[in-house]
């Protein structure tokens, strides 16, 4: 009987333990914000690595996303529905959901995995221990720049993705369907509310935090050499993806009533 209770209790205890460690990690990051001299240079470098180098991938994904969404939407309209509805549906689906979500999921693989691998490799090669020896706060040097860069660059990339997707949707519609520019623009402007863009950026900030926090933490606690780095990377990507979806649901539940004009 006692054995039956021990396993679930051990599982719950392990979850709480993991959560506690992450809370301490977060606390250390907040403390490390007080050392801008340590993280500023790395912050700029990480913004380039996370933001600038991810632009081509982001734009390509967004372009295909926008084109396919527009094309499929047009051919699902039954006779009698005004074609400007395509513009409305494209805008709503890209700005509110697909733009931030797919950008974040794509960047989880590119940016998050890279983050975990970098920090994990530094951990297993004892470079982090060397930083501590040199009186550098490793969290200020490694984690804080990455988290801050992700918080700035994810919304930037999401905005670029939204613009690229909507432009691609427009091009696809005028080249491959009977929808004209006037119809598309009318639909684009229909029931538009500035808050819809802010909503998209709020999601992007939350996703950026999820990716950078989870992936930097997993890299920071990597163990057991090269195998450990690979394992940490895989775990980081999975946990980050799940966190992105959770944040997506939470933000939608809280802010969706304010979206409509």
């Amino acid at each position: 009987m006692l054995t039956l209770l021990i396993r679930p209790m051990a599982g719950i205890s392990a979850m709480l333990n993991a959560l506690g460690k992450r809370v301490y990690y977060g606390r250390d990051m907040i403390r490390a914000l007080a050392e801008p001299g340590t993280w500023w240079v790395e912050f700029i470098r990480q913004m380039r690595a996370i933001g600038v180098e991810s632009v081509p991938l982001t734009v390509i994904v967004a372009a295909f996303l926008g084109g396919v969404t527009a094309f499929q939407t047009r051919y699902q309209l039954f006779a009698g529905v005004q074609v400007s509805v395509v513009g409305l549906i494209v805008r709503q689906s890209i700005v509110l959901e697909l733009g931030p979500l797919l950008t974040a999921l794509v960047l989880t693989g590119r940016v998050g995995a890279r983050m975990t691998a970098e920090i994990g490799t530094m951990r297993v090669t004892e470079q982090i221990d060397a930083l501590e020896t040199l009186a550098y706060d490793p969290i200020a040097f490694l984690a804080v720049p990455r988290v801050l860069a992700a918080l700035v660059m994810l919304p930037t990339l999401t905005m670029l993705a939204n613009v690229a997707a909507i432009t691609s949707a427009w091009l696809t519609l005028i080249l491959a369907t009977d929808v004209r520019t006037n119809d598309f623009v009318d639909g684009l402007r229909l029931s538009f509310n500035m808050f819809q863009v802010i909503y998209s950026l709020i999601k992007a900030v939350c996703f950026g935090f999820a990716i950078s926090f989870v992936c930097s933490y997993q890299g920071y606690v990597t163990e057991s050499g090269a195998e450990g780095v690979g394992k940490s990377t895989a775990i980081a990507v999975v946990i980050a993806s799940v966190c992105i979806l959770l944040f997506d649901a939470v933000v939608a539940a809280i802010l969706a009533p304010f979206i409509q004009a």
Partner: protein, 298 residues
């Protein structure tokens, strides 16, 4: 040195990305929300509360997009003061009215400026456009639909009360059953009559078939002869009629003794007088025969 150069390059590139994104994002958002980035001039209009207007909605002049709503203020007197930004290359004719119209089927609104006729006079900048009566929007149509639905419900309730609860449908069914029975009876009668008619037709055919053609011919000849005699008689009667008419004409026109007799009242009066005298003579003879008859025998 190389590190410094790389650091500077990173900063420039990151800065450029942020600027480009800010411009695209902000510019795009304003372009969608405000219908364009060009500046224009202000015009005003007053609508009643509940018009459903908000910033960014389009302004159309005779169907052409000329601007957008830049501000909506709630005035305590029950109106909305709407500030519109109109593109510089459009002017609003002096006889125009502004109304709120539905923009699509998703509840969005627009302001439609409708000129009454073509004119070369225009409203000055920052003027107030007179407002007209708006077409019913989707809420009004829904309200109408609601009232129609209520009436239909009332009608249905009345129909139910009349036809179901008070047995109206049963009576109709009874009437239909009676009609069906009647139709059956009529069908039976028609069938019987049709059968008898067919029998009669057959008998007539048989009869006609048995009739001698020769007899028919002679009958026809006799009929023709009779018809000729009748015609002669008719002619005779005609001439007699003409003579009688002539005689009557003569009598009426006072020609001849009979005419005089018939038309002259003097003779009649005299005859009446003579007849009266004769009557009195006869009466006197009867009363006093010896006065008139003196009979002596020997």
């Amino acid at each position: 040195m190389a590190v410094k150069v790389k650091k500077r390059r990173d900063e420039v590139v990151v800065g450029a990305l942020l600027v480009v994104t800010l411009v695209l994002g902000l510019g795009g958002t304003l372009w969608i929300a405000r219908g364009g980035l060009s500046r224009g001039y202000a015009m005003f209009a007053k609508f009643p509360w509940g018009a459903g207007l908000k910033q960014g909605q389009p302004v159309l002049l005779a169907g052409v997009n000329i601007g957008f709503v830049s501000d909506v203020q709630l005035v305590p007197d029950g109106t909305l003061l709407v500030n519109m930004t109109i593109k510089r290359n459009y002017k609003i004719p002096i006889n125009s009215t502004a109304t709120v119209e539905a923009n699509g089927i998703f509840g969005d609104q627009l302001i439609a400026v409708t000129p009454v006729r073509a004119t070369t006079e225009f409203l000055p900048e920052r003027d107030t456009i007179p407002t007209g009566v708006s077409a019913p929007g989707i809420p009004d149509l829904l309200a109408k639909g609601d009232s129609i639905a209520k009436n239909v419900n009332l009608l249905t309730a009345n129909l139910r009360s009349e036809f179901v609860d008070s047995g109206g449908i049963k009576q109709i069914r009874g009437a239909i059953n009676d009609m069906t029975r009647l139709l059956t009876q009529i069908t039976t009668v028609v069938t019987t009559q049709s059968r008898e008619l067919t029998t009669t037709q057959e008998q007539v055919r048989t009869l006609l078939a048995s009739v001698d053609e020769g007899k028919i011919d002679s009958t026809l000849t006799n009929v023709r002869a009779a018809s000729a005699n009748l015609e002669k008689m008719s002619r005779g009667l005609d001439s007699t009629r003409l003579q009688v008419n002539a005689l009557i004409d003569k009598v009426n026109n006072g020609k001849g003794s009979i005419s005089l007799l018939l038309n002259d009242p003097t003779l009649h009066t005299k005859l009446v007088g003579v007849s009266a005298q004769l009557d009195s003579l006869i009466a006197d003879i009867k009363k006093n025969p010896r006065k008139y008859i003196n009979l002596k025998i020997f």
